[in-house]
Amino acid sequence: MVGREYDLIGNPVGAVRSTFEKAMRAGEPPFLVDGKDWGATHSIPILDRTTLPHLQPNTLVRYRGMIQDMLGNEFYVGAHKDGGTWTTNKFTDVSHLPSEALSDSRIWERRLLYCVPVPGQNIWAETYSDFVTSPCLNNTSPHGEKRQREDCADMDIQASDQDFQDSTCMKKMRENMHSSQLCPKERISEGSTSNSDMVPNFDIKSLPCVVKIYDTPESELKLNDVIEFVGLLTFDPKLAADDDTFDELSDGLCEDALIHLPPSKVPRLHCIVHQKLTSHDFLSGSLILEPKSSMVKGVRESLLGHLTSVLGNDELAAHFMLLHLLSGVHTRVGLVAVGKLSLNLTCFNKEILTVFGNRIKAAVANLVPFTMCMPLTIDHLNSVSLAPSKDYNTNRLVPGLLQLTEGTHLTVDETQLQTGTLNSVGVENIRLLKILLESQKVDYDFKYYKMEMEADTQVLILSEGKSNILPADVILPFRPQPPRVSDCVDMEALKAWRCYLATFRSLQHSIDSEMQKRVEDDLVAARQANRSLGSSDFSRLLTMGRLVSMSFGETCLSLEHWQMVKELERLRCERSNQ
């Protein structure tokens, strides 16, 4: 381990202090860093496609990923007697023992998880390179860059980070070199299993990982959770060569998923510690926003201003966009997912789309760690598989576009939809999208049955008219003005906004009885006035109330915010009826 200058066993307090001091040097205000580990885990090198070649096998690494599939349990010789002494195989991959050794052995169990980098993860949210490549960020402050370097200084891959650009170039070169090195090995493993087409088509950049979990209750790790695993990286070139030698008996039996995941492509990680990550963990800065502080209001105003300028001075749309970005399912009652607020911006003609479509997508991508975009075209719907499905030949869950982790933002561009015929795949996909919007659930296809998985995806729909295919919670005609030419985004502000969204999205919220009475009265009055209001409208209003209140960092709905909700709704209705 490089960069571990302190001694945790001999001088634990010293180690803690030195980490803390380091964090202080990085410029964090001391009153905001309680409850953190000041980057202690950050000293462990991260495992990803670029760092893989430089990491030694059997060293401690860190991997951040989403649990995409669960490969079941694996039985292994946990301990065996080797000439009178017991030895263990825990935290190691396959080791070879003489078959006699099995006479005195214990069989233990571990869980296998197949993890992938979080789908839709934005570049800035990646762990070490917070190098924002957005074109509008031409004005990065020198201070921000300095910190970036410091953040990744601990990683041993950054041998010389005198020049950031230079090192990325180097990395690319090394990557190329490495892939050429890998080639013969791959040929061996693939040729032998004759399943090269079964190897998941890896993204060049993303690195899947098989994580082996020890002694953890099953309920702790769930599908689609984003987890940081700290553990041993094992990479055994022998293993790759082994695959062609399974004997005739295991022939039919080891149709395991693992066969299709050669260790040369998918590293194994023996997990020692794991931790569920929230979107907060993906922020590079360590800014903490206290609820109710005066800072919140400032950040809110500036974010709203930013959204307004992105949305061509459409302030109403910016307000709804803010609420939309803060929304998330917090309770489920029966079939109803409470807390979601999907937004449908209508009136997107060709012209507006070319100007604003990408602006909106880029702006969202800069604010939320995980974003996805989906063009809604007939061809796309007819060909793509949105829901994950089980492939029983490989015994793997084939990821679908809608296998997303909690809090992912999905932009659906309906403007590209033309008239045409949907085939059965298309119809199924439309149904899936509709269910996702209505109840935030995705049906995973297990061929013989469907399994409902709960989702929490913020969906933004851009469409010309009201989308009938995708029933959104809020429908708002978009009224932009031509945008100003240059919008420069301050890096610091961007960080503050991300932090703001991450913090307040998960805020607890309540309502006092007096306010509850007031809200009820208002709802009853609204319904008396307009009989067409239904429970869905009430739900929307209450969700908005909660979100508006949360956007100010408040944990309790106040009258002022409720009035704001009513005003927003009034403006929205006015605009819709025009």
Binding site: E74, S95, S99, L253, E255, T331, Y448, M451, E520, V524
Partner: protein, 833 residues
């Protein structure tokens, strides 16, 4: 243990002295701990004879394929030699050799133990023998034991396996059961040997080897809970087959031939998964080296298949993916299940090391786990929502034998549920719990789900049992939600929207196959939901043509097709649940239902219940709705959903009731029905009224019967009681009061539904016509000057002080008169002719 075996012995005593002589000493050994012989055996546990331990040492503790192969070989039917003679080197062959002695003099055999355990081979042997000989069913008084008969039967049909219910083993000898589950390899080997021995005693010429197939263990585990401690144990699992490999021929005995001299070797038995090829020719004259080659068609093979089993969806916890496990099937079990089958498997959980290379003695530290399958049972029957749960006609025909304990448990639970006094209320509450209020509508829907009994008279006339419901209501009253919910609940529901449905889409469609040119019949929604519920949303927006198709479906329950080349009548025994918006988007209480819905009265009368879900501008309801939603958003909502039956249970409840409960009218109920019907009809003629208002039609009495049958079904009652009929009347009245109220008189008026015009309205119109006629007679001469309707109206108002007449009423009356040829209307002037 003692109590288990002793009654059997007592029972055994008188039946057959031969048996008695053998079983009682052994029984004593087993059951009385004070017996010195027994103790002697126990004491030797600590020091098992070295001969045995060394034999068992290699295969037993390591779950290597070695053990498996050994076992397989032992169990394989061997026509030439019994295993005793053929493989004297094998460990487990020791017991049978002593077996013969055991029958006569049990004491003389040296105590043998399964390696590493305190299981005495002789004890197990004796216990199995006792079980097979003496076990009888609970009320089985036959002379021979149940399994003795079974063995005879197996011999008779030349079978090769004996199915043994583990529950029987448990009941008879608890200890044997435990040993069997914990050490299945050893105990089953002994089991097979005992069986073989018995068979050869019964019929020495019977050459097949009979294997014991154990099933129905006391406890069944889930795939998720399989862990290393289960290895080498007998387990029972439920799951769904997802994959079957092709059949793999596995070599059992190999035959070699010398290439030089043509000498055939002795059959060589597979040892530890491999065959040792003879290096030299066995013939003394030849002795050629490396000349032996395998002769395929003289080798003996057995079938093998690898099947993958996956967890059933109900066992998967939140946020998990299903686990899978491999099953190894042999011989008869090959192809016993197909992908998609739900099965219950009994087998031995095995772990197998993976050897590196074929010659190396080293193994990987990883294990492959699989289940050596002993018994496979399809559990489709125990599924509550089986293939045709809405099946009502031949529901009783399913054979009871196959129904598993699990199923019985479930049924017992459902029955328990049905005995609760508030089951009706409870079910109502559980139906679409997130939909607000509408309790009576939900009750109606519940009746629809359960359905009445269909009846076919000998004359061929049939009465449908399906209840059709129409929901008419203001927008935003969660009609569609109710519909979707019912659609989900009903086992074979089809959901369509009236706007998008065409007549053929609903019924059936004749198409020409583009390739073969054949005409094919394609079923539409109604045919597809045969014995289910067809949910039609936006019924009012349906085209006339499509709606007219429903006439036949809703009363005759068939769809008739007469198209080129095909004349067919398809069954469409479906309940229709339709919902419609009033014509003017909001219900106009001043208009009749017909005017509001714009549906032909003929179709309307085919609905048993028509609910008007009116969104009354009632502050109280609004407030409750608001409170509910505010609570949903801001409070923890756990408490609001207490006592709600979950969806799977509800589905199971409904399908069980539909399948198994066929209520009949009790005399009391029939009387009540008659009385109520007469009462309903009489109600129209309230005192002092000369107006004829029909309050009920014969169709209503059919509806009432269906409803009361459904209500009895809800209680799992085979008899329709008086209270069911009363409730049915109440439901009908609730529905009718809303839908069939004549707004002019306030009475229930079925005319409103059947013709669209209420009796009192008709009366009013008639009196207006006659009044107008008399005025015209009075005021105008034939061929005289024309008069304007407004003037006529003035006159009308003058003559009939009090009654309100509108110009439109007058125009109606005038057009009636015009059709009679009494007047002529020219634009805005009326002329008498």
């Amino acid at each position: 243990m003692a109590s288990d075996s002793s009654p059997a012995n007592n029972h055994d005593g008188p039946s057959s002295p031969d048996d008695d002589s053998m079983s009682s000493p052994i029984g004593n050994t087993f059951s009385s701990p004070g017996n010195p012989r027994r103790r002697g055996r126990r004491s030797s546990v600590a020091t098992p004879p070295s001969r045995r331990s060394s034999r068992f040492a290699t295969p037993e503790p390591t779950p290597t394929p070695v053990t498996r192969t050994n076992r397989r070989r032992r169990r394989s039917p061997d026509p030439v030699t019994t295993p005793i003679a053929a493989t004297p080197s094998s460990a487990d062959e020791a017991p049978p050799s002593s077996d013969g002695g055991e029958f006569g003099h049990p004491d003389e055999a040296p105590p043998m133990f399964v390696w590493g355990t305190n299981i005495s081979v002789q004890d197990v042997n004796a216990a199995i023998l006792r079980f097979l000989r003496n076990f009888r069913g609970r009320d089985d008084a036959s002379v021979e034991g149940k399994y003795m008969m079974a063995i005879h039967h197996v011999i008779e049909i030349q079978g090769d396996s004996l199915e043994v219910d583990a529950h029987h083993v448990f009941d008879y000898d608890n200890d044997l059961y435990n040993k069997m589950v914990r050490y299945p390899l050893e105990v089953l080997a002994i089991f097979d040997i005992v069986l073989m021995d018995m068979v050869s005693r019964i019929n020495p010429l019977f050459e097949k080897h009979i294997q014991a197939r154990i099933f129905n263990l006391k406890t069944s585990t889930t795939m998720r809970n399989l862990n290393p401690s289960d290895i080498e144990k007998m387990v029972s699992l439920k799951g769904m087959i997802i994959r079957c490999s092709s059949i793999i021929p596995e070599i059992r005995e190999a035959m070699f031939r010398c290439l030089v001299c043509g000498y055939f070797s002795e059959p060589i038995v597979v040892d530890r998964g491999r065959i040792s090829e003879p290096t030299t020719c066995g013939k003394q004259e030849c002795l050629a080296k490396n000349s032996m080659t395998l002769v395929h068609n003289r080798c003996r093979f057995a079938d093998k298949q690898v099947v993958r089993l996956q967890e059933t969806p109900d066992e998967i916890p939140d946020g998990g993916t299903p686990h899978t496990v491999s099953l190894l099937m042999h011989d008869k079990l090959v192809d016993a299940g197909k992908p998609g089958d739900r099965v219950e498997v009994t087998g031995i959980y095995r772990a197998m090391t993976v050897r590196i290379g074929s010659s190396q003695r080293t193994v990987k530290s990883l294990f492959k786990t699989y289940i050596d399958c002993l018994h496979l049972k399809k559990t489709d029957k125990s599924r509550m929502n089986a293939e045709d749960p809405m099946e009502v006609e031949n529901g009783a025909s399913t054979n009871d034998e196959d129904i598993t304990h699990d199923y019985e448990d479930k049924v017992e639970k459902l029955k328990e549920l049905s005995r609760k006094p508030d089951i009706y209320e409870r079910l109502t509450k559980s139906l679409a719990p997130n939909i607000w209020e509408l309790d009576d509508v939900k009750k109606g829907l519940l009746c629809q789900l359960f359905g009445g009994s269909a009846l076919t008279l000998q004359s061929g006339a049939s009465f449908r049992g399906d209840i059709n419901i129409l929901l008419v209501g203001d927008p935003g009253t969660s009609k569609s939600q109710l519909l979707t919910y019912i659609h989900k609940l009903s086992p074979r529901g089809i959901y369509t929207s009236g706007r998008g449905s065409s007549a053929v889409g609903l019924t059936a469609y004749v198409a020409k196959d583009p390739e073969s040119g054949e005409t094919v019949l394609e079923s539409g929604a109604l045919v597809l939901s045969d014995k289910g519920i067809c949910c039609i949303d936006e019924f009012d927006k349906m085209s006339e043509n499509a709606r007219s198709m429903l006439h036949e479906v809703m009363e005759q329950q068939t769809v008739s097709i007469a198209k080129a080349g095909i004349i067919a009548s398809l069954n469409a025994r479906t309940s229709v649940l339709a919902c419609a918006n009033p014509s003017g988007s909001r219900y106009n209480p001043r208009l009749s239902v017909i005017d509001n819905i714009h549906l032909p009265p003929t179709l309307l009368s085919r609905f048993d219940l028509i609910y008007l879900i009116l969104d009354k501008a009632d502050e109280q309801t609004d407030r409750r709705l608001a409170k509910h939603i505010v609570g949903l958003h801001f409070e923890d909502t756990e408490n609001s959903e207490q006592d709600v039956i979950d969806l799977p249970t509800l589905t199971a409840y409904v399908s069980y009731a539909r399948k198994n409960i066929h209520p009949e009218l009790s005399d009391e109920a029939a009387e009540e029905l008659t009385r109520g019907y007469v009462e309903m009809r009489r109600r129209g003629n309230f005192p002092g009224s000369s107006k004829k208002v029909i309050t009920a039609t014969p169709r209503q009495i059919e509806s009432l019967i269906r409803l009361s049958e459904a209500l009895a079904r809800i209680r799992f009652s085979e008899l329709v009681e008086k209270k069911d009929v009363v409730e049915a009347f109440r439901l009908l009245e609730v529905a009718m009061q809303q839908s069939a109220t004549d707004h002019a008189t306030g009475t229930i008026d079925m005319d409103l539904i059947t013709t669209g015009v209420s009796a009192s309205e008709r009366m009013r119109r008639e009196s207006l016509v006659s009044l107008t006629r008399s005025i015209i007679m009075e005021k105008m001469q034939i061929g005289g000057p024309s008069i304007r309707p407004l003037e006529l109206l003035e006159e009308l108002k003058k003559q009939s002080s009090g009654a309100e007449y509108h110009l439109s009423d007058l125009r109606n009356a005038l057009s009636t008169l015009a059709s009679e040829g009494f007047v002529v209307i020219h634009g805005d002037s009326v002329k008498r002719v």
